[in-house]
């Protein structure tokens, strides 16, 4: 086969069609003349010869067409012809073209934007070599929950495991960088030596951590992120070996990570230092606190089940070299997750729901446009009937309709890409702050392939459905104008499409309704304190002088006094951890008279070291006993206040006041319960009740750092922020302020994933309802237009306007009703996927379902009104005369 010849001959024909046609014509002509001559030679008269040749050979025109149609260039030519024709038709009805293109752009654009956000998070492999072998390892709580591990457990697993190539532990670290520029508090991590090796990523500059770095009192060394290196050190390669001041200590920069390194476990981390824990594992030290995250890289060929089995057997068989304290006994075993699953677990329900919602929206837009195309193709019946009658082949007509569908889809898809490009940054801005891997969200190759595939698919749908519909009917029917009254089949298809649209819209809006009800319920939950007009400021005391407990306490006390003097402040207090801020500071609470139940053992109690004004400032209510006050200072008897649930659970039917307990290690001092306060939501509004114990800052054995200032304003809390900041800095200019937020912001953030899903569902739901209404309106309007004559006859025969309005409205409401029933069934099924996002409402919440039904019926009633009114105004005299 000579491709070259194929190509050149075809191109020659394409570029110079006239010459190529002339060539063929000449050859055909010559063939016929020779045939005629031959017949003449055999004795026929010239006329007879010509006639016989015609008879035997057919028409020269047909032969020429046959030759012409045989090359590949013919396909290109007809394609161009179809495109030209399609473009002409779109230009001829710009309203239709614009509405369809915008509808499709919405569907394709929204789907593409959501896909680009969801794809990297849910489906893309993490950006590490052999990422499938990366895992997270958790200690298991008595209730099966995943808990952070201790350093002791890490040491034991490091020594005893055979399944992992490397394992590492880490904890968050927030040092303050001082030096030439103003002090800056950075997010970082303290990591064990093999952290980067576990991920399989080496520093781009300098070296990785070595065993000598990660030991008690080891050297101060630090590895920088590429971003920090560029931002603070101008990307200077001479940074290696230089000292930087972190919390007043010099650290030597030993490495810089590559720009491509994505730290999925703490994306905001900008620098890393070795953990430097004590490998002799003193039993009272931090080495046995559950506060480390563990990652492990499986050996090649070791599956996750085998690793889980092995860790399970290690947990079950303690050895002498690794004695475990009771609270880290691993008696509930260890669990291993794929890192990928661990990273996305919290956001998966919201993302999957949103992805489902956008696909429904896409389906609705496709159905809607198919419906518009169908309505228009009804008007083109005559054209197609005529073309079939003139000899056009059906495949050719189908091709033309599909070409037109694809043109429309490409138009919509192109606009959709614009929608997606605008939508993706918007989506990232809207998305919950906790969305993992948000840096990987971008309109990239995979997204473009997705959008293109979607466009082609939709183009095929909106081309093929009308094509099959138009061509099913007989050619002659379309030619007979009067038979246009027989509208059954096509109306039926359109009816089905409208019903589908309504049903899909119901599914979307019911889901949106359920989410809305959940959010209402969530915000109706009492957080246990008054969240209004509350400003929160987290401050870290940094520098050597704060290694001294008294100095730290003095700084915070002086700063608190300064904050109280700010005009507009009605009350202010300090606390070590703030409700709803994400803080999670848990201790064991061991009561003297109520030994720990097994189930409570690793449950943990939130510990708050607070200033005595804390309860009044937050509006936490006293239930029994007294609050902490000026009595409770260093040297006086140690007092704590506990919350209601803890009191009720540990001392059912008894008085908890006066009970003694250890907070933390049992070698610590005894605290006495002096009061009981209302429950406060610590982790989130949706979380179940949590135990809490409060003591004053001065009666705790170390100074918490950072601490939160909580400030109650007389009026606007946010407006106080700069003044409060100034007040704190007036005590010490060098103390970095870590976070500033109003309690309202924090409350909103705890519902961020639900709110994110709700916003998208609500937006999609509105679009879906509007599209469904347009669908109903379009169908009825078309049907009224086609039935003008019938309506005219009816009213001539005495049908009242009310009857005619009723007739049209009934048709519309029947479609709505059918769609609604199917949609409700679908919504019940779909709500199963939403359960993870619901709060306080059943997935069958009647309010959501009835609300949506009411909305739908009113909207579709409006959509029915205009066509019904138009039908009622049909003047029988005019209609009948028009025939």
């Amino acid at each position: 086969m000579s491709l070259w010849r194929q190509l050149t001959r075809g191109l020659r024909a394409l570029t110079n069609r006239a010459a190529a046609d002339q060539d063929t014509a000449d050859e055909v002509e010559d063939f016929f003349e020779q045939a005629t001559a031959a017949l003449e030679a055999s004795g026929l008269s010239p006329d007879e010869a010509r006639r016989t040749a015609r008879l035997e050979l057919g028409s020269t025109l047909a032969v020429r067409e046959q030759v012409r149609a045989s090359g590949w260039e013919h396909l290109v030519e007809t394609l161009f012809a179809d495109l030209r024709y399609g473009a002409r038709r779109l230009r001829a009805s710009p309203g239709f073209a614009v509405v369809s293109a915008i509808t499709l752009a919405l569907g394709i654009g929204a789907s593409t934007a959501i896909f680009s956000a969801v794809y990297p998070v849910l489906f893309e492999r993490l950006p590490y070599p052999a990422a499938g072998r990366l895992t997270m390892i958790w200690d298991v709580g008595p209730d099966g929950s995943r808990n952070d591990v201790t350093f002791g457990t890490y040491r034991e697993l490091l020594e005893r495991n055979r399944s992992f190539e490397s394992i590492a532990v880490m904890k968050p670290w927030g040092p303050t960088l001082t030096g030439s520029a103003e002090p800056e508090r950075l997010d970082g991590q303290r990591v064990s030596v093999a952290y980067f090796r576990a991920f399989g990523v080496a520093p781009a500059l300098g070296r990785d951590f070595e065993a000598a770095d990660d030991q008690l009192n080891g050297p101060g060394v630090v590895v920088l992120s590429h971003a920090l290196w560029r931002r603070r050190f101008n990307g200077d390669p001479a940074i290696l070996g230089r000292h930087v001041m972190l919390d007043d200590d010099p650290y030597t920069v030993v490495g810089v990570m590559p720009a491509t390194f994505e730290n999925v476990l703490l994306p905001s981390a900008q620098l890393w230092a070795p953990l430097q824990y004590d490998v002799s594992l003193p039993v009272q030290g931090t080495e046995w606190g559950h506060h480390l995250r563990m990652v492990g890289r499986l050996k090649a060929g070791v599956g996750i089940e085998r690793a889980t089995d092995e860790l399970g057997s290690i947990a079950r068989t303690p050895v002498r070299d690794f004695t475990r304290p009771r609270w880290a006994s691993l008696e509930n075993g260890l669990t291993v997750d794929r890192l990928q699953d661990a990273v996305i677990r919290s956001v998966k329900p919201a993302l999957v729901a949103v992805l489902g919602a956008v696909l429904i929206l896409l389906l609705i837009t496709a159905v809607n446009v198919t419906n518009l195309v169908l309505a228009r193709s009804a008007l083109r019946r005559e054209e197609f009937a005529m073309r079939v009658a003139l000899g056009a082949a059906r495949p050719r007509l189908i091709r033309q309709l599909v070409t037109e569908g694809l043109m429309l889809a490409v138009l919509g898809g192109g606009l959709g890409m614009v929608v997606a490009l605008v939508g993706v940054p918007l989506l990232v801005a809207l998305s919950p702050a906790a969305l993992p891997r948000s840096s990987a969200i971008a309109v990239d190759g995979a997204v473009i392939v997705f959008a293109a595939g979607l466009t082609i698919l939709i183009g095929l749908i909106i081309g093929v459905v009308p094509a099959s519909n138009v061509l099913r009917s007989d050619a002659h029917v379309g030619l007979q104008r009067h038979l246009r009254r027989s509208v059954g089949g096509r109306q039926w298809t359109r009816g089905v499409l409208v019903v589908a649209e309504v049903a899909l819209a119901v599914i979307l809006t019911v889901s949106a309704g359920l989410l809305l009800r959940s959010l209402q319920r969530l915000f109706a939950v009492d957080p246990g304190f008054d969240a209004a007009r509350l400003l929160t400021v987290q401050v870290q005391a940094s520098g050597h002088r704060f290694s001294n407990l008294a100095a730290t306490q003095q700084f915070f006390a002086e700063a608190l006094d300064a904050v109280r003097r700010v005009p507009g402040v009605s009350a202010a207090a300090l606390t070590s951890q703030l409700p709803l801020s994400g803080d999670q500071d848990l201790y064991g609470a061991h009561f003297e008279s109520s030994p720990l139940q097994r189930a409570d053992e690793s449950r943990g109690t939130f510990r708050y070291a607070v200033s005595s004004s804390y309860f009044e400032t937050l509006g936490i209510r006293l239930r029994r006993g007294r609050l902490l006050d000026a009595r409770d200072v260093t040297g006086s008897p140690l007092a704590v206040v506990i919350n209601e649930s803890l009191a009720r659970r540990r001392f059912p039917g008894q008085d908890a006041i006066g009970q003694r307990l250890h907070v933390g290690p049992q070698s610590g001092p005894w605290y006495t319960v002096v009061g009981i306060v209302s429950d406060v939501k610590q982790m989130s509004l949706g979380a179940s009740q949590e135990d809490a114990v409060y003591m004053t800052t001065t009666q705790w054995h170390f100074a918490d750092n950072p601490q939160w200032f909580v400030v109650r304003a007389w009026s606007d809390a946010a407006a106080l922020a700069p003044l409060v900041r100034q007040a704190i800095w007036s005590v010490d200019r060098n103390q970095p302020i870590v976070r500033v937020a109003t309690m309202d912001d924090l409350l909103a953030a705890t519902a961020a994933d639900r709110r994110f899903a709700l916003r998208l569902f609500a937006a999609f739901g509105v679009v879906a309802i509007v599209l469904a209404a347009i669908g109903i309106y379009g169908l009825l309007a078309g049907s009224v237009a086609e039935r003008r004559r019938e309506i005219g006859v009816r009213s001539a025969l005495g049908a009242t306007r009310a009857r005619i309005v009723g007739m049209v409205a009934r048709q519309g409401m029947m479609l709505t009703g059918l769609g609604a029933v199917i949609g409700l069934i679908g919504a019940v099924a779909a709500s199963g996927a939403l359960v993870g996002l619901l709060f306080g409402v059943s997935r069958l919440d009647p309010v959501a379902y009835f609300g949506v039904l009411t909305l739908l019926v009113s909207v579709s009633a409006i959509a029915c009104c205009v066509p019904a009114w138009r039908a009622a105004r049909v003047d029988p005299a005019i209609t009948l005369r028009a025939e």
């Binding site: 000579s2 063929t24 050859e27 010559d30 020779q34 031959a38 046959q66 030759v67 045989s70 090359g71």
Partner: protein, 111 residues
Amino acid sequence: MDKPNTDVIQGTLDLLILKTLSLEPMHGFGISRRVEQISRGVFKVNPGSLLTALQRLERAGWLDAEWRDTANSRRARFYWLTRAGKKQLELETDDWARRAAAVARILKAET
């Protein structure tokens, strides 16, 4: 009574054209007539199929073509085999012989 079927057996038109042209360069009508004569009228080639096939074979590189004067001083488009065409003819001839023999064997088989 129906006219006897004079259609060329499906898939053999190329072979017939190549074989005919292997004897001498020829124009379209010449080929048509030669096939009809040699087959004693069993096959008739209609001009549409023939010219389409000629265009295809020419593009495939098996034929070359040129406008030339005919014996009776008319102009006609002549076709002749290229080297590739000769090879193709051998291939298709062998292939046909193999398949025809197989068909013949099947038809002769005792039931």
